[in-house]
């Protein structure tokens, strides 16, 4: 049977929806692929065409939310008049807002990541390309508009921001204040700090200091104490990657 692309997308969305429902109901471990397939109205083998593992469903879910967020941000007419901080804040608030209906599901993922260790946080990085791209866009526009000075490690900032975002989600999951107002304030104020950091030259200065220490002391120290040459170059290459990125 020939399946069109849009029909495929539809099935995928259906599987996601049913998976989230079942996982909320039964827990990630107890929700079986078989039952998810059944609830989504497809055969047991077919589901593996879409998602080879249950974890992949989680990643797809996260990716899906990023897509929806991107869509919503695009619909904001005057988004270009937002400040850097306002744009980042809207990004995060929108993601959380989309998570809200599946809050219990997010709580389970969060537990698996932070408590039981059943899920590696690193695995989630594969699904956050879109998120990082959005952040990278927002940042590069702010730099171009000279809203902030060119920060060091610009390429790494989106990933750092993702880490911050994970922290926000973890906070939100534990937040029991009315309407999650504590999370709202946490985001507001922490982004205030991030904004201040990006606007100041602290990052650049810290980088200068780091480079100075690295070149003058660290490298020579390494050369002196390093016995294994191969080990040393390995380390050097690793650092070089980071620093050359600048």
């Amino acid at each position: 049977m020939k399946v069109t692309q849009s029909a495929k997308e539809k099935t995928k969305a259906k599987i996601l929806e049913e998976a989230v429902n079942l996982i909320i109901e039964k827990g990630f471990k107890s929700a079986s692929m078989r039952e998810i397939a059944k609830n989504a109205g497809i055969s047991n083998p077919t589901i593996y065409n879409y998602f080879p593992t249950k974890e992949k469903i989680l990643y797809a879910y996260v990716e899906q939310k990023h897509k929806e967020t991107a869509q919503i941000l695009q619909e904001i007419e005057d988004f270009n008049t937002y400040t850097l901080r306002e744009q980042l804040q809207t990004l995060i608030e929108t993601e959380l807002e989309l998570y809200l209906e599946d809050r219990e599901f997010i709580m389970q993922i969060s537990d698996m990541v932070f408590q039981s260790g059943g899920l590696k946080l690193n695995a989630l990085y594969d699904s956050n390309t879109l998120f990082r791209d959005m952040v990278a866009d927002i940042l590069s526009i702010a730099i171009e508009a000279e809203e902030i000075p060119n920060p060091p490690f610009e390429e790494h900032l989106p990933r750092l921001f993702w880490d911050y975002y994970i922290m926000v989600v973890a906070y939100w999951v534990k937040d029991d204040s009315e309407m999650f107002e504590n999370t709202t304030q946490f985001i507001d104020h922490s982004l205030g700090v991030i904004e201040a950091l990006l606007q100041s030259s602290i990052l650049n200065r810290a980088n200068d200091l780091g480079m100075f220490l690295f070149k003058t002391h660290f490298l020579s120290a390494l050369e002196r104490f390093s016995v294994k040459k191969s080990g040393f170059t390995k380390i050097k290459r690793k650092f070089g990657e980071v620093f050359n990125d600048k």
Partner: protein, 442 residues
């Protein structure tokens, strides 16, 4: 993109807020202690100075920690300045400095709050929505919007404000108890707490506004109409009143006649509120009045209102009639005792208390009603005299504090705020209508 940069992070959890509170208390303890040690070695005149220095230091410590707590505290500061006239000047100076620092709500937050409260993003709910606030009010900010060809003012509250009232107040209370010298200030703090809790509740404000709109019935006074379907506990939408602010009004160089007209409207509306609606607009901030076209006056922001009951009003009226008619000190004192502002006891004692603690004040307040008209241009030092007298009384009278009737203080402080506006307007008011209301003639 400038205003938020220097903003300190506000402690969010209850624990850390408590920690800040604790820190403030610790600091006060230290400062006061230093003062006491210094004083032991000082001459009399130096003692006075040192006291005032310590006060200023304490005031600064308290306000500093309030700055960290932000938000609600600004309003508390205003409320205290309004409700506790016995506060030392240094205190009030520090407080007034903090008036304009309500945390800003940026575009991202506005979007979020509107979506959360009204169910959709501003762009989908309103035909137009101005992301930039045009005014700050009641622990939030006000945005202009249009919907179905109606011009709206949408007030949005900063999230989490209402939950922090209690812990913020405990700092203030601690600080104030130092000035009250061990006396009971609980009833005044209760009053402030009550006002604040009311003020953060926009649903209540909507009710008050509606009540005023339905009952004031004054052809020259406009009260905004609340749009109920666009209002919740933390978002309040109403019709937008177009006109001049107080400052813009004064800058437009209005004629004496126009100035008198507006002062009169404001003055009369206060007494109509007090006697007919039994609810006064208790925030005499000039920003709450809009000077509109065709001699109309707009009244906004009913977040801080004061309800009075008939019994208090009866006592209040009787007292004012006595004062207006130049009754003897004995009669007046008895009436004050009735209002719980003078302890019942031997007449001689009561009289001594009245003459030293209250009379200087009521002489000033009643000055307004001595004649049919009162010219604030001629008497442009009225509010200053009033304020200084309060300070003098406070200096001399250690026990004046606990017996102040909170209702009475609120009314007098609000009036003093209005009179301060009239001085700036250099207006003459006609007190006949107010007098007839007090005497129960109309």
């Amino acid at each position: 993109m400038t205003s938020n940069t220097g903003q300190k992070k506000i402690p969010t959890s209850r624990v850390s807020r408590g920690a800040v509170v604790g820190k403030a208390m610790l600091k006060i303890g230290i400062t006061s202690g230093t003062g006491a040690v210094k004083r032991a070695f000082m001459s009399k005149e130096n003692k006075e100075l040192s006291k005032s220095e310590t006060h200023a230091e304490i005031a600064k410590v308290i306000i500093d920690s309030l700055g960290t707590l932000k938000g609600i505290s600004v309003k508390i500061a205003q409320q205290i300045a309004l409700g506790l006239p016995f506060l030392p000047q240094e205190y009030l100076d520090e407080i007034s400095k903090s008036f304009n620092s309500i945390p800003p709500i940026n575009k991202a937050l506005i979007r979020k709050i509107v979506k959360q409260e009204l169910g959709d993003y501003p762009q989908n709910i309103f035909d137009t929505f101005d992301n930039k606030a045009f005014g700050a009010a009641s622990l939030g900010q006000v945005h202009r919007a249009t919907k179905e060809k109606k011009e709206l003012a949408v007030k949005v509250q900063y999230p989490g404000i209402s939950t922090s009232i209690d812990s913020d107040l405990s700092v203030i209370k601690f600080g104030l108890s130092r000035f009250a010298k061990g006396q009971d200030i609980d009833h005044l703090m209760d009053e402030v707490t009550k006002r604040l809790t009311e003020e953060v509740d926009y649903e209540l404000e909507a009710q008050n506004t509606k009540y005023y709109e339905d009952n004031l019935n004054h052809e020259l006074i406009v009260i905004p109409t609340i749009v109920e379907e666009l209002s919740t506990k933390t978002v309040l939408s109403s019709t937008f009143l177009d006109g001049n602010s107080f400052k813009a009004f004064l800058n437009s160089n209005p004629s004496q006649e126009v100035r008198n007209h507006y002062a009169q409207l404001i003055f009369d509306s206060f007494f109509i509120g007090l006697y007919r609606l039994k609810m006064i607009h208790a925030d005499p901030n000039p920003g709450n009045f809009i000077f509109m076209a065709d001699n109309m006056l707009g009244m906004i922001d009913f977040g801080c209102v004061k309800r009075v009951d008939s019994e208090f009003l009866k006592g209040f009226s009787k007292l004012h009639v006595l004062l207006m008619d130049n009754a003897s000190d004995e009669e007046v004192t008895e009436q004050y005792a009735e209002l719980d502002m003078v302890d019942c006891g031997e007449m001689e004692e009561m009289l001594t208390f009245y003459r030293s603690a209250i009379k200087p004040l009521d002489r000033i307040y009643i000055e307004i009603f001595a004649q049919e008209k009162y010219d604030f241009k001629e008497n442009n030092d009225f509010s200053e005299r009033g304020f200084n007298t309060i300070m003098d009384v406070q200096k001399n009278q250690r026990h004046a504090v606990h017996k102040m009737n909170a209702d009475y203080i609120f009314i007098d402080r609000t009036l003093l705020g209005y009179y301060n506006m009239f001085e700036k307007m250099e207006a003459t008011i006609d007190t006949r209508f107010a007098q007839s209301l007090i005497r129960g003639e109309v």
